[in-house]
């Protein structure tokens, strides 16, 4: 192990140390909220600093299995923001329910570490390692309210389908390894390229391997028809954790797609393009149609997150058709979706600060009168999720639709379908606004104040939702660099 390798993996190592430190601090002062939070935020700030510092120069470590480039840096920063924002939102929800904060923060940072490992892997085995490290804490978190039957049910479904899909994914990896004789991403790419160009014999095993990999990944990103675990896992989990689950593992799984499909299987993209088109079309349409009928906001956002997966897949499809802009769009979408969706979940969590408050639509009735600021912020997030300018959500849609239109042919049809879906989605997002501003409150108002951490998180997500919509330039530069870092 060389010194240079240690420098390259410094952010990852620091993240693991932070998670461990939270556990240690909690052992010294059990149940202490302040100490755990200080260690979490301080540690995450250090990790972010290291990420930016080491991200400046592309490097690889451990014989090429670990690779840091602009894409790694970009994704790592998103993962760190997700973890930090979730820890900001969680205490006000967890504490009244008697759920420990330190353990939650530690598990979350471990999950973040897994996601960071995915973003930096240049080897299929490391990729799988990262994936498991990311999703295992996710199962724990989903069942975090262990005395709550719904939470446990959701966690078990999540766990069973998750491990099932991991197994399928691993099976697919085995095929690819068997055919190419290497687990290194670059070697696999070379072999696949030779096979596609006809200079090496074609094997149906490649198609099998691709099919298994696609299935496994489709489970992870909750693409239709592999989405059945999502609504229950989302509805059952404690709300801040649902917020995390809706963005963290999703962006992580997309990182996996970028490293695997774009990195290793890029030469075969003509073969997986039709699959992505069909997945995207099914995912956004079904997600939206089912979301239309939901009366529980968390469940509605779960289905809507399926729909957003579909929009992101449009970007991937545009890339597979030869448009690098599709990747940029996907990454932009991932960032925008992260902030607006976390913001929306933060509002729900803030409303549920008192145990027993449900996430039914009725909870939102008259919110515009009871807590105007919360109502206005939720409206902003809903408009952004709908894709109304000038918000981040609008520019995100713009950035995936433009390359799809450029690609032409079926991709344009997909773009039109995406826009029709966005119009349908307006119905259920605006229904929340209807309840908040156009209905009278039911029951008496909860006058207990929100914690200052929640406000900090809300203002950060709000600012980003607006700024990414009005001034997308800087982030566009970042995603441009990140997309070009891939081969």
């Amino acid at each position: 192990m060389a010194w240079a390798d240690l420098v390259t993996i410094a952010p990852l190592a620091a993240a693991i140390l932070v998670a461990a430190a939270i556990v240690v601090v909690d052992m010294i002062r059990p149940g202490g909220r302040t100490a755990a939070l200080i260690v979490s935020f301080g540690g995450l700030a250090i990790v972010a600093g290291l990420t930016v510092l080491t991200g400046g120069t592309p490097a690889s470590a451990f014989g090429g299995t670990y690779r840091v480039d602009a894409l790694t840096t970009f994704l790592d920063l998103i993962f760190i923001s997700i973890a930090a924002l979730t820890i900001l939102f969680a205490p006000d929800y967890l504490e009244p329910r008697g759920l420990p904060i330190a353990e939650f923060a530690a598990v979350l940072v471990f999950a973040m570490t897994g996601a960071m490992l995915i973003a930096a892997s240049a080897d299929l085995l490391v990729l799988f390692l990262g994936l498991e490290l990311m999703v295992l804490p996710g199962y724990l978190l989903a069942g975090y309210a262990k005395r709550d039957a719904l939470s446990t049910e959701g966690a078990i479904k999540y766990f069973l389908l998750g491990s099932f899909s991991s197994a399928i994914f691993l099976f697919g990896l085995a095929f690819i390894w068997g055919l190419t004789g290497s687990t290194r991403v670059s070697d696999v790419a070379t072999h696949v390229a030779a096979m596609v160009s006809g200079s090496a014999p074609f094997s149906p095993g490649l198609a099998m391997g691709l099919a298994f990999l696609t299935t496994g990944v489709a489970f992870k990103i909750a693409a239709v028809p592999f989405h059945y675990w999502t609504p229950d896992a989302y509805q059952g989990s404690p709300t801040p954790i649902t917020g995390y689950l809706s963005v963290g593992p999703k962006v992580g799984a997309f990182a996996l797609i970028l490293r695997l499909f774009v990195g290793a299987l890029d030469p075969a993209k003509a073969d997986w393009l039709p699959v992505v088109i069909v997945l995207a079309a099914l995912t956004m349409t079904l997600g939206n149609l089912v979301a239309l009928t939901q009366n529980n906001v968390k469940r509605m956002l779960a289905y809507s997150s399926i729909a957003h997966t579909g929009y992101m897949l449009v970007g991937l499809a545009a890339y597979a058709d030869g448009r690098i802009g599709g990747l940029e769009g996907l990454l932009y979408y991932a960032a925008a979706y992260t902030f607006m969706n976390l913001g929306a979940f933060a509002v729900i969590a803030a409303l549920q600060r008192r145990p027993g408050v449900t996430s039914q639509l009725e909870t939102f009735a008259g919110l515009g009168r009871r807590e105007p600021i919360l109502g206005i912020l939720m409206t902003l997030f809903m408009l952004s999720l709908t894709g109304i300018p000038p918000t981040a959500g609008f520019f995100a849609k713009f950035s995936v639709i433009l390359p799809a239109v450029q690609a032409g042919g079926w991709l344009t049809v997909l773009a039109v379908l995406a826009m029709l879906n966005a119009a349908a989605a307006a119905f259920y997002y605006l229904r929340v606004v209807v309840y908040m501003f156009m209905r009278e409150p039911t029951g008496e108002a909860d006058r207990s104040p929100h914690g200052s951490l929640v406000w900090v998180g809300l203002w950060v997500t709000t600012a980003l939702t607006i700024v990414l919509g009005l001034f997308p330039g800087p982030l566009l530069t970042m995603v441009g660099d990140a997309a070009r870092a891939l081969p």
Binding site: G368, R369, L383, G387, I388, P389, P390, F394, F398, I401, L402, V405, Q406, T412, A415, V416, M419, L420, A422, A423, A424, A426, F427, L430, R431, V433, V434, F437, M438, P472, G473, L476, T477, G480
Partner: protein, 518 residues
């Protein structure tokens, strides 16, 4: 800062936004402050828009844009912040700023709940509307186009009538379907332009660059047919053209009075403006191909709107359907590709904004006193409120198209153009004039003449005549109706450059005779 570099268009556009932000910081228990701030902000925007009229030079050939402001916004995609004004947008911007302050003043009495939020929504609505008329960048245009949607959604949904939630969601969904498809078409157009310029997006969303490209190289037939269809859907829903009109009666009936005024006065014009500004110059061949079908739809709208208006029991719904009919004249005038027709269409847009805006204000007056709009319950109002009856009659005759008032000139020019296009089309349109006179005069007769109805009698002293503030809102509209009726040249001189330029790009003959007696 010299007079030449003063960003007057940005000032006009964003003055209401500043007002909205200020209102956001005002105390909740002082609704009067919010009201007067909103009136002040919209009044200032109005005054600055009048400066535009003074400084505008109508003589410039080729429909050139003036007061152009330009700055890079998202350079990666060649997206600019670019505003400019020509005769057409100037007329519509002044219509918007005028109706905005009138609507805000008219809301002082009726809106008593959540005044702050109402005024903020209204001012943001004004920003969106002005922005649509001034944008010279398709991306910017789209943003303002969507910005209009949200405050109107809130205005109908929060301050509207009993079925407001149904109406407002219908309004949003209809509009979104059209506009999102238009976004795809905008992207396809921009990309085609970029392809024609070595793959660079520089200027790909710039309207002037796109227009010049369409005039020289031209977009491929395929793109034109699809992109025009998407633009058409967005604009036809806004106008609204038959059969995309069904959101309009619901939205009008449920909207508060000022919401109806803006809806009819400005929002419907966004569609007509979009046709003239974007759809025709960018996709001329598609416009010629689809033209006859759109004319057919316009004729159906003219007849259908009039017939349905005839049987409406609700006063507001009657005027809403009359809007469908009147806006049919606008799309007819645009798509016959005759100079008289298009001039008439623009004039008709302005007139419809003024007259129907005033009629909705007048319906609001009676509704505020009786909380009912059922025509069958009314009767003999002229003896109770003579001033109100006289003003109502004035605007009713303007709407019918009485010569000397502005409604006449617009429709007449459309007839002239339609006659040159096809006498049968003109004959059908003229025939409907009789219907228009029929439903409006019959309505007037039922409400104002005869004995005082039991319903009115039971309300007794609640039925009062026009108050001073109501007269203040109606007088400017009435004045303009008379002025434009007698001197339509005031508008025609401003817009003729745009009309000639647009018709030049769709390839029709640009004759100079605007009025046959000239």
């Amino acid at each position: 800062m010299s007079i030449d570099t003063f960003p007057i268009l940005s000032v006009v556009t964003f003055l209401p936004l500043i007002g909205a932000i200020v209102i956001g910081f005002l105390p909740r228990d002082r609704p009067d402050l919010a009201r007067w701030t909103a009136l002040g902000a919209s009044g200032l925007a109005w005054i600055f828009s009048l400066f535009l009229v003074v400084g505008f030079l109508p003589g410039r050939p080729g429909g050139g844009f003036q007061f152009v402001e330009q700055a890079d916004w998202i350079p990666a995609f060649g997206i600019q912040y670019k505003l400019g004004v020509d005769g057409l947008s100037l007329v519509l911007v002044v219509l918007t700023t005028t109706l905005s302050w009138i609507s805000i003043l008219a809301s002082f009495g009726p809106i008593k709940e959540r005044v702050k939020e109402y005024m903020i929504s209204f001012l943001i609505l004004e920003v969106g509307m002005i922005g649509v008329f001034l944008s010279l960048d398709l991306f910017l245009f789209y943003i303002f186009w969507e910005v209009v949607l949200v405050p109107m959604y809130l205005i109908i949904g929060i301050w509207g009538g009993p079925r407001r939630i149904y109406a407002t969601i219908k309004f949003v969904l209809y509009t979104l379907v059209g506009s999102l498809l238009m976004l795809v078409a905008i992207l396809a157009t921009a990309y085609t332009y970029a392809q024609g310029h070595g793959g660079s997006f520089q200027g790909a969303f710039d309207f002037i660059a796109l227009r010049d490209y369409a005039a020289t190289a031209g977009f491929s037939n395929n793109l034109q047919m699809l992109a025009f269809a998407a633009f058409f859907l967005a604009f036809a829903i806004k106008v609204p053209m038959f059969p995309f009109h069904t959101w309009l009666p619901d939205a009008h009936v449920e909207a508060p009075t000022a919401g109806s005024v803006i809806l009819a006065g400005v929002l419907l014009k966004l569609g007509g403006y979009g046709f003239i500004r974007f759809a025709l110059p960018l996709f001329p061949e598609a416009a010629r191909t689809y033209g006859p079908w759109i004319i057919a739809l316009s004729l159906i709208a003219i007849i259908y709107g009039a017939i349905v208006a005839l049987v409406q029991p609700d006063l507001k719904k009657l005027i809403a359907y009359s809007s469908v009919s009147h806006m049919g004249f606008v799309t007819l005038g645009i798509f016959i590709f005759q100079p008289q027709g298009m001039n008439g269409a623009i004039l008709q847009m302005v007139n419809h904004g003024l007259i129907t805006g005033a009629l909705f204000l007048l319906v609001g007056v009676i509704y505020e006193r009786t909380h009912d709009r059922t025509i069958a319950k009314m009767g003999g109002l002229a003896s109770l409120t003579p001033v109100y009856a006289a003003v109502f009659g004035f605007f009713m005759f303007a709407s019918v198209g009485l010569p000397g008032l502005s409604g006449f000139v617009g429709e007449f020019l459309v007839f002239v153009g339609a006659w040159a296009y096809n006498p049968i089309v003109a004959a059908i349109a003229a025939f409907v004039m009789i219907f228009a006179a029929g439903y409006l005069l019959w309505m007037f007769q039922r409400i104002f003449t005869g004995d005082v109805s039991e319903f009115f009698a039971s309300l007794g002293h609640h039925i009062t005549d026009l108050r001073p503030v109501e007269i203040v809102t109606l007088v400017p509209l009435g004045t303009l109706v008379v002025v434009f009726g007698l001197f339509p040249g005031l508008i025609l001189d401003l817009v003729s450059g745009t009309v000639n330029s647009v018709l030049g790009s769709v390839g029709a003959a640009t004759a100079i005779h605007l009025l046959p007696w000239q």
